[in-house]
Every structure is written in C-alpha cells, then in structure tokens.
C-alpha cells in the first residue's frame, strides 16, 4: 500500500528515478579512482528485467554498498560483477561492466579467471567440509599460486591474519572447518577469498546470518580490507551500510534510485523513496 502510493506520487510529480541522473549525484569520487564502471547495465531472467539500465561507478579501495529491500536486484547486481549468474538458466545482460576499462562480459574474458580478480563472500558461510588449512589453500592450490609447501603455508597464514582469524585457529588448522562458529566460518570464507589475491571482494549480505558480536567483527574486517581491496557490500541493513559504506547505492525494483557518498544518502536523501526506506516505512 504505502510504497505504491509513494511510487504514484513520484510519477505525478514527474520525479522519475533516473539512474543516469543518480550517477551524477556521486560528488566526491575522483574519476581516476573508479575501478568498476557499470554502463547502461540491464539484467534479465528470461523476459523479466530485474535490473534496469544501471549506470554506476565503483571506486577503488572503497566500500560501495548496494542497499535496498528484498527483491530489488541488489544480489543479482553484485553477482553480475564476477559473472556468478552465468550458469543461471535464462540469465542474460545488456550493457557493459568495465573492470579497469575492460568489459568483463567480452568474449575474450574467461569467466573462471575473472573470479581470481573479483572474489566473493556469500550470505550463508559456506566453508568446505575439509580442514581449515585446506579451505584457505583451496584457491592457491587450484591456481598453482605456491611453488612449495612453505609458500602455501605463508599464503594461508597471511590470508587468515588478514581475515582476523589467525589467532583463533592457528592451533587447529588441521581440524574441520565445520567445527567453527558461524562468525568464524564467515571470516574463514573471507580468508579463503583473499588467498587467491583478488582486487575486488564482493560481499553478498555477509553478516545477515551472524549474531551481533560476529557481525561487528566482520564489519571491522571490511573497513580494514578497504586499505588494500575494493569492497562491494550488499546489505538490507541500513545501520551497517551507514557504518561501513563509503558510497551507497539504493536500489528499488530493479532501478538505481540514488547513488552517492554514504553521508549524503543517509542525511540528505534526494529521492523520497530513499527517504522512506531509511525511515523504515518502505
């Protein structure tokens, strides 16, 4: 009821949520810092258009947050950034996703190799049913990143340290990863993603299955990761978006409604839809 009336009002006043316009709201980001650029990006499941003409720059070594209610297309959007949707029957895209200026959907790009550059962490922690060590070593092993056991050891150690998990697991690396708590499992998944040395880390609601303590640990970790990685975070938790986000994109029903620095979006939203969502009444 309420969101429909908001949409109607919008239509009447002619304030169309134009994504290209929203893009220019992004004031601070220097163009040279942009790592990923979505250009006229639309996505479809069969004939259903789930993302409509998105134009969005994602800044290097910052946290860009995709925020919006369930079903707004934010997960589809983040999964499109490392081509995780390729296997979904009926999925197709139009437009471009430029990573360092190169279209990742170009036929010359190998979707398997792309994933070493753009890593991903999922909503539900998904450690493999093998040891903690083997989980982290999985990526380096399949890509043959280490020449010998010593190198592999140091990749594993370094990745676990970066994921702030080392101190908790250093004495039980050979134990099953399934014995860890939910929060530890999620940080293990982050370590596992870091071990293949990506530039970008996509996080699809990484804390939504975790308790508050684990959530704040994962959030702290995200802020640390920003030093060296470009982070894209999907969340429907506004507080989280406000706490960690550098820029925030608000999506609604497949449209990019608003995009800008986190402080602008939360304190001075331009679209009434965004405002409603932030007030919790959408």
């Amino acid at each position: 009821m309420s969101y429909k009336s908001v949409l109607m009002k919008q239509g009447e006043s002619g304030e169309k949520t134009d994504s290209t316009q929203a893009m220019y709201n992004h004031g601070e980001a220097d163009v040279s810092e942009v790592l990923i650029n979505l250009v006229d990006f639309s996505a479809f499941y069969g004939t259903l258009e789930v993302l409509k003409n998105i134009n969005l720059p994602i800044a290097k070594k910052k946290i860009t947050v995709f925020m919006g209610p369930s079903g707004c297309g934010k997960s589809t959007l983040v999964r499109a950034l490392n081509r995780m949707n390729d296997e979904v029957p009926g999925f197709r895209i139009t437009g471009k996703v430029l990573l360092d200026g190169e279209d990742i959907y170009a036929p010359t790009v190998d979707p398997v190799l792309l994933k070493t550059r753009v890593g991903m962490v999922f909503q539900k922690p998904n450690p493999f049913p093998i040891s903690i060590y083997d989980n982290v070593a999985f990526g380096p092993r399949i890509h043959k990143l280490a020449k010998n056991r010593g190198e592999l050891d140091s990749i594993v150690t370094e990745s676990l340290q970066k994921a702030a998990l080392w101190d908790e697991v250093k004495d039980r690396l050979g134990k099953s990863a399934w014995g860890l708590s939910g929060g530890q499992q999620q940080r293990l998944c982050i370590a596992r993603a870091l071990a293949v040395r990506p530039e970008v880390i996509l996080m699809d609601e990484p804390a939504s299955a975790l308790d508050p303590g684990s959530t704040s640990k994962v959030e702290e970790l995200m802020v640390d990761l920003k030093e060296n990685y470009t982070v894209v975070l999907v969340t429907h938790n506004m507080q989280q978006a406000a706490r960690v986000g550098t820029s925030v994109a608000f999506l609604y029903k497949g449209d990019l409604v608003e995009f800008g620095p986190a402080s602008d979006v939360f304190e001075n939203p331009k679209s009434p839809l965004t405002e409603k969502y932030i007030r919790g009444s959408l």
């Binding site: 398997v112 070493t116 890593g119 999922f122 998904n126 049913p129 093998i130 040891s131 399949i142 596992r192």
Partner: protein, 303 residues
C-alpha cells in the same frame, strides 16, 4: 477417535486445558495409541529380523560344518569335488562387471547431476535407466545371450556374463550417484566456483568427496545384486567344472550356480554340502565388502 479439539464455548470456558476433563481424556486416548503404535512397529521389526536371524544362523551353522580345505581348493570336477573354480569364477565376474559398471555408472551420474541441462536426451537417459532397473534379470540374461553369446560370438564366457551383470548393476550406480551429487549443497559448489574452480575441479575436489558415502552405498547395492544373480549367468556363463581358459569361449562356474545346481540334489549329500559352503561364502563376501567399504569411508571422510 476422539481427536477433536476441546470446545471453549461451554460455560466452563474459563477452565484451562490443564484441568479440562475433555482435554485430559483426549490426551489419555492419544497416549494409548502411542503405545499401540510402538508395540506394532517393534512387532513388525521382529517379524523381519527373527526369520532373517534364523536364516543366517542356519546357513552359518551348516556352512561352517561343511567347510573344509578340500572343499575350498578342489575343482568341481575333481573326484572329491570342491568350490575353487566357482570361487574363482565369482571373483572374476565381480571384478570384471564392477570394472565395467562402476566407471560408467559414476560418470553417467555425474553427467546427469552436473552437466545435463534437463533436455530430452538426459530425460530419456534417466527414463531408460529406470526401465532397465525394472527389467527382470532373466530377460536381460536372454538378451545378452542372443546379442553377446550368439551374435557377437563371445560364446558362453566370463566376458558375456560380466557385461550382463554390468547391465544389471549400471542403473543402481547411475541413479544413486546422481541423487548423492544432487544432495551436495549448492552453496558449497558456489563457493568453489567463486574461487575460480572449473566445473571439473569442483567435482573432483569437493563434490565427489561430499557425495562419496551415497555413491558407495549405490555401488555396494549393485555389487550385492550382481553377486546374487543366477538367471542371467545361466544364459551367458553356462557352467563348468574347471577354471575357464580365457575370457571368451570358456564357460565358467560361480557360487550361485553351485547352489542352484546342487541344493536340490538330495540324493548326493556331499554335493548338497557344497551348496551350503557356497551360500556361506556368498554371505561372508557381502558382509566383508560392506565392512571394508564402511571402514574405508570412515577413513576417507575424516578431515
């Protein structure tokens, strides 16, 4: 039965379920049914287990009484007959048929679960496997006789018999592999893909490992079935008193054949004793295979 909910519209609406006579009476009735069901299920379990235990005891008892070095080392054709060539035959058939059916079934199941896109071909394949599992083995045996023994001129032979057994084993391994792989959680597979695994790497390193208990169950089921088959072997291996000279044009003996041939021949007690030994050996082989597989699995799935 009195399973209607207590009504609250009566004047005693203020009474809580805790001390409502109706609720209490209902609960007593449900507790009685609980007991009846428990007794029934235990009785059913016993009705199956007691005859099975009796059977196993009987064959173990008679088998152990009948077993001897001579009966294990002599040929059926020897003056004092033994089972050695039937043991060799059963072992040979088991090895050959497993070597054919296990790779085909496991790879086929992997294809169905991971690569088939739900098209006509894969649907047809699944349907064919289900039909194959339902065809009586004696019919498959006859078909193999016509095609392999006669048309391809294998003669009565280990190869023809092993292929017949493999045809019987295949659908079980194929379907259980597919089901076991489909049970591997999607988010585990996604995790591997997101790290830059190819599909093959993902299957080899994670999926098969995860699905191994299920796949092994299917293999054991199929091996057990192939061990106990007799009808298709009569058509393809025939029978022999000595070890086969090769894989083609050489009839061979097998333990189930011994049982089929000698159990009814009451007039020669010595031959009947061979049937008991053969039965005992077959049961022992199945038990050993299961134990070894379970132990192996436990070691394998330990992280």
């Amino acid at each position: 039965m009195s399973d209607e909910l207590p009504t609250r519209s009566s004047p005693s609406a203020s009474i809580s379920p805790w001390n409502s006579p109706k609720v209490i009476a209902n609960h007593r009735a449900r507790k009685r049914w609980d007991l009846v069901f428990k007794i029934l299920s235990v009785a059913c379990a016993l009705a199956v287990l007691i005859p099975l235990g009796d059977l196993l005891y009987e064959f173990a008892y008679r088998g152990i009484q009948a077993i001897s070095i001579v009966r294990l080392t002599h040929n059926l054709g020897a003056t004092v007959p033994g089972l050695s060539n039937a043991i060799v035959g059963t072992g040979l058939l088991l090895a050959l048929s497993s070597a054919i059916a296990i790779p085909l079934g496991v790879f086929g199941g992997v294809y169905m679960a991971e690569f088939a896109k739900g098209n006509r071909f894969s649907e047809g394949l699944r349907f064919a496997a289900d039909v194959l599992a339902g065809v009586p083995s004696i019919v498959l045996g006859y078909v193999c006789y016509l095609v392999l023994v006669r048309y391809f001129n294998f003669g009565f032979s280990a190869m023809a018999a092993a292929i017949a057994l493999a045809v019987i084993m295949f659908p079980y391994i194929f379907r259980t592999t597919e089901i076991a792989i489909r049970k591997v959680p999607e988010n585990i597979k996604e995790g591997a893909i997101a790290l830059g695994s190819t599909k093959t790497t993902m299957i080899n390193r994670l999926v098969l490992r995860f699905a191994m208990p299920g796949i092994l169950t299917g293999i054991l089921l199929a091996v057990g079935i192939s061990l106990s088959e007799t009808a298709p072997l009569l058509f393809t291996a025939n029978f022999a008193n000595y070890n086969p000279s090769g894989l083609f044009h050489a009839p061979l003996a097998y333990l189930t054949g011994v049982i089929w041939t000698f159990y009814e021949v009451v007039s020669i007690p010595a031959d009947q004793q061979l049937a008991y030994v053969a039965t005992f050996l077959l049961i022992m082989i199945v038990v050993c295979l299961n134990v070894v597989a379970r132990l192996g699995l436990r070691r394998f799935s330990k992280v």
